[in-house]
Structure formats: structure tokens, C-alpha cells
């Protein structure tokens, strides 16, 4: 079995081996450290001239990556914490994603900005956030969030090499040590994978379960909790759910894999519970519920969100636990909906 961290590291190594245009720029990348979360381990040893450890200058390294991408290279920029993505917001919104469209299709900026997001590590208010909601809906930005249902490293490799959009690649910190699940680990589930988009969407239900009474949707680490909730809801409360897990958060085409998977599930369940680690209001889940409401109108019988509190994430463990969405929150929300 391979952990998400190992998979991502292997994906970077594969991209470097496959294409000499691949570069990595970020803080503290050099071995033996290999980046704060070790995703970049051994790259600086194997590719010393293509791994550039940088000053603490997030905006500039994002811009440098953009300039390299504009001129035909395939750079990856590592932001040590997703919280620091705010320092990159101008580059991301006013340059990186603008150039392709505002230059009327005559320029491409295939830069991948990777960054860890999320809490549950006690890092406190400015090193624990799930901020990708700020960037969802920025035109021209592809936002990817790997999970354990398919190979995160291969997704990263493909994001670097096989498409031309700028990518924000969001890695939940708590996912790093989790195992990428193989068939044996998922033996209890019937799984459908939609591969019509660049990144897959998975629909999970327990084998032999009756038609779902509720549809859950979650991405990244929250998909782990949602899968556990799905099992417990079935065995402890006889509430049968389907879980829809996207890997691509944006763009969100009306006929894309996530929307079609949600519609297929909601056709039976008519109830949608969205689960995210970002803050509650105006977020990813709200968009999914809005899409479901637009599609199903009055036929949608119940809609709820489980998300983080709208407050800074405290450093104290018990307070952090209270601020972030937990397994029990999913189970109690689900029970109230059915």
C-alpha cells in the first residue's frame, strides 16, 4: 500500500523523469528536508538544477512560475501552507488565470501551484485553514483536490504534464499519511467512477444496499469521514446513502462528472448533504446545493451543509475539534434529514 504522501512524491518524480521542462520552486525544498511536508523529498538530490529552493516570497515564486509557464516550461510551485495562498492571490487572479483569456487565447500558463490545506494538526488560526473556496469560481483556474479513491500522484503528474490550465492543487494535510485505497480496502463498496472530466468523480454505495435515502458529497479528507459516516449510518441507523466524491472542484460544468453523478444519485434520494472543511457560508457546499435546487426544484426534499465554524481555527485541541466538522456532525445531520 502507498500513502497519499508517497504517491504525491512519486508523481512528482515521475513528472521530472518524463519531461525536462518540469521545475519545482518553493521554500525549504532541499534534501534532507525536502519541503515542510516532505512531498518534495529526494527531488533536489536527483534533479539539483530543476529544483529551486526559494526565499520566503510566495507572490514572487508564483509569478516566476507563471513566467516560466508562459515561456514553455512546466513549473510546479510549492506553497508551504495553503494559508499563504492569500499572498499569491493577485498573481493567481490578475495574471496567471487572466493571460490565456485576456490575450485572446494566444498565451498559456500551465503552472501547478500545490499546497497543503486543512486543520486537525494544532497549528492554529493561520496554518490550519481550508481556503480553496476563495479561489473556486476564478475563471480559468482548475482546482484539484486528491483523495484516497484514486492515485493522487498520478493526478499530480497529469496536472503537470497533460493539460494547459493553471492548477491549484489542494492537498489536505491529514490525508498525507492515509493509504491510497486498493480494491481490497474498498471491498464493501460498489463504486462508479466518472472519467469524462480531467479528474475523476467517484460514487460509492455499500454493496447490496437499497436505493439511497440520502446523497452525501465531500472531497479531500472530508471524503474519508463521509465514507465512514456512510457505513455507520447504514449499520447503526439503517440509513442508506450514496457518497459522491469529486477530485476536480473547479471548473464546475453543468454537464461535468460531479453534476451528473449528483443528479443520478439525487434522482433517487432527493436529499443532499454537503460536507466540507471550509467555512459554512458562501462555499463549495452552497454551490452544490444551488445546482441541485436549480435542477430538481421542488423535488429536492432536504438540503444541508456540514462545514467549519465561521471563526478562526483555535490552536487548543478541544477547541479546534469543536470548530471543524467531525464524523458525528455528519451522522447527526444525516439523521435529521431522513
Amino acid at each position: 500500500m502507498t500513502s497519499v504522501l508517497e504517491s504525491l512524491n512519486q508523481g512528482l518524480h515521475a513528472a521530472f523523469a518524463q519531461d525536462a521542462r518540469v521545475y519545482l520552486i518553493g521554500e525549504d525544498l532541499l534534501d534532507p528536508y525536502g519541503g515542510a511536508f516532505k512531498v518534495s523529498r529526494n527531488l533536489s538530490t536527483q534533479y539539483p538544477d530543476r529544483v529551486w529552493t526559494s526565499p520566503v516570497s510566495e507572490a514572487a515564486i508564483a509569478g516566476v512560475g507563471a513566467g516560466m509557464a508562459l515561456r514553455g516550461l512546466r513549473p510546479v510551485v510549492e506553497l508551504m501552507f495553503g494559508d499563504f495562498s492569500t499572498l499569491v492571490a493577485d498573481q493567481l487572479i490578475n495574471s496567471i488565470t487572466k493571460f490565456p483569456a485576456m490575450y485572446n487565447g494566444a498565451a498559456q500558463v500551465p503552472v501547478v501551484i500545490r499546497t497543503p490545506m486543512g486543520g486537525r494538526r494544532g497549528y492554529g488560526p493561520t496554518h490550519s485553514q481550508t481556503l480553496e473556496k476563495l479561489y473556486l469560481g476564478v475563471p480559468g483556474l482548475r482546482v484539484l483536490a486528491p483523495n484516497t479513491l484514486s492515485d493522487p500522484g498520478d493526478l499530480l503528474r497529469r496536472a503537470i504534464l497533460e493539460q494547459n490550465d493553471p492548477v491549484l492543487f489542494v492537498e489536505n494535510k491529514v490525508l498525507y499519511p492515509k493509504q491510497v485505497l486498493d480494491n481490497a480496502a474498498l471491498a464493501d463498496f460498489e463504486i462508479e467512477a466518472s472519467t469524462q472530466d480531467f479528474a475523476p468523480t467517484h460514487t460509492l454505495r455499500l454493496k447490496g444496499a437499497p436505493r439511497p435515502a440520502l446523497t452525501l458529497t465531500a472531497y479531500g479528507y472530508m471524503a474519508e469521514l463521509a465514507r465512514e459516516a456512510l457505513t455507520r449510518l447504514a449499520f447503526e441507523h439503517e440509513i442508506f446513502c450514496e457518497l459522491v466524491v469529486p477530485t476536480q472542484l473547479a471548473p464546475l460544468p453543468a454537464d461535468g462528472g460531479l453534476q451528473l453523478a449528483l443528479q443520478a444519485s439525487l434522482q433517487h434520494s432527493r436529499r443532499l448533504l454537503t460536507i466540507e472543511e471550509g467555512t459554512y457560508s458562501l462555499g463549495w457546499g452552497a454551490e452544490q446545493l444551488a445546482r441541485a435546487a436549480q435542477h430538481f426544484g421542488g423535488r429536492l426534499q432536504a438540503a444541508r451543509r456540514v462545514a467549519a465554524a465561521e471563526a478562526p481555527i483555535p490552536a487548543a485541541r478541544n477547541l479546534e475539534d469543536a470548530a471543524l466538522p467531525a464524523l458525528e456532525d455528519i451522522i447527526s445531520a444525516a439523521r435529521e434529514m431522513v
Binding site: 507572490a59 516566476v64 513566467g67 490578475n94 490575450y103
Partner: protein
Amino acid sequence: MSDDAALYTQLATIRRFEETVLDAFPKGAFYGTTHTYIGQEANAAGVLAHLHDSDLVFSNHRCHGHFLAYGGDARALFAELMGKATGVCGGIGGSQHLHWKNFYSNGVLGSTAPIAVGAALAEKRKGSQAVTVLFLGDGAMGEGVVYESLNIASLWGAPILFVVENNHIAQTTPTELAMAGSLAGRFAAFNIPAVELDSSDARQIYDIAAQEFAQVRSTPGPRALILHTARFGPHSKGDDTRDPAFIEELRAMRDPLTIHGDRLENGQRAAIEAEVDSAIAAAYAQAEADPLPEHAAHVKSGH
């Protein structure tokens, strides 16, 4: 054509283009806004005369002069300002967002600095020998990302020429209210060699730029050329808060067309002006007759 005549043609082309823009704006020919280069023409003409085909230029909101001196087409630029399909960027970019060949501009001050440094590093890695030129104004010196970029350019040896056009005013704010320390000191702090010139003489600028390009080409790494200059026009269309008498004084003392034009024979100068006038008038007329863009697919997406 002699070098002096070519330089004068460039100066006159930029001047006539910008005057046409300012004349036509109140008549409703254009939509949006513009930032004219009147008074600073000698910088673009003198610096960009040294470009090789493979070189890159990154420019800012005040980019028309840079674009024309780069070799950009006046009709395509008029059309871009008019929002026509034949515009440099099909009418999507408008006045401050241009891309053609290796020329790029963006309207967020200083935002181009890391991108230009990254582009320069990419060209170095690809072995293209290209020099990247980044135009910055005194106003952009207030943006933090510029300093991050100078640091990285110096650390990583980016083959880039930073050209600072100090027109002594950022929109309406005089430089002395916005900048502590000196321009040269900013580059010195990062160990980037910088030279300074206070002139509106295109030939002087041409000569100093020649040395800077030669240095960057022979020992690839960052250098800076600080050009103290004068903006005769408003920041954009009608927002000049300076005393008109002061601007008259600037025009009398520092007009690049007067300074350089005096080097030409009267007949030659008049002939160049007549040629430029008719070329710009023709470009404007063509752009005016050009079609509007179709609704681009990307404007409709997401619903």
C-alpha cells in the same frame, strides 16, 4: 533611413498615436480608459531599438509607446482600444492588456515583475540567449512583489533589464510623497548594477541602453536602467491635477520630438511627420471600419 530618422519616426509615431487617442476619446470613439505616453516617447524608442527578435518585453498600463516601439501595429492597437475583432487581443484586453509575439503587458502595477523574471529564467534555461526587458514606473516601486522579484532576479541570475521610467508622478501623487530612499539604492540593495539618466533625448537614451543590453547579453544577469522622464499628459484621460504652467514648462524643456527633431534637416523632419500623420490616420480609419468581435465562447461559459 539613418538611425536618427528611424528614431524620429518612432517618436513621431507614438506621439501622433497618443494624440489621436486623446482627441478621439471625448468623441466616443473608445470605450473605457487609456494611459498615454506623451512626453516619455524617447524611452521606448531609445531602449527598444536594441531588441533582437527573440527578446521579450513586459510592459505596464502605460504600454502604447512600448508596444509601437516593439513593432506593434497601430491599426491593431487602435482596434484594441475600440474593442474591435481586429484588435491586438480581439478587443478582450483593451488599452492595458496586450500580447503580441514576445510582448506582454498588464495593468496591475508591479505584478509583471516576478513574471518577467520567471520568463527571463525560462529563456536562460532554454538557452535562447534572449534578454527580457521589464518596464516599471516610479509608482510600481510601492509594490512589495517588485522587491521579492529583484531579490530573486539577482540570486538566480535572470538575464533581465529593468527599465524604470520615473515620470515623477503616480496618477496624481508626486513621487516624493510615495517613495523614501532612491531608485538606485533599491537596486544596489540587491546587488543589481544600475545606471541613471535624466534626459528626454532619444539618442542619449539609445546610447545608454546600448551599453546595458550589451552587458546583459555578455554576462547574463539582471541590470537596471533608471530613466528620469516627464509625462506631459494626464494619468489617464482628464485627471491631471498639476499646474498647466508647469506642464507647459516641461513641454518647452523636455519634448523628445523637439530635442531629437532638431537633429534632422527641416525637410526631412517635415517629410517624416507627414508620413507618420498619414499612416496613423489610415490606421485609425481602418480600425474604425473594422468589425466588432463575435460573442466569445468564454463569455458564455459556466451557466
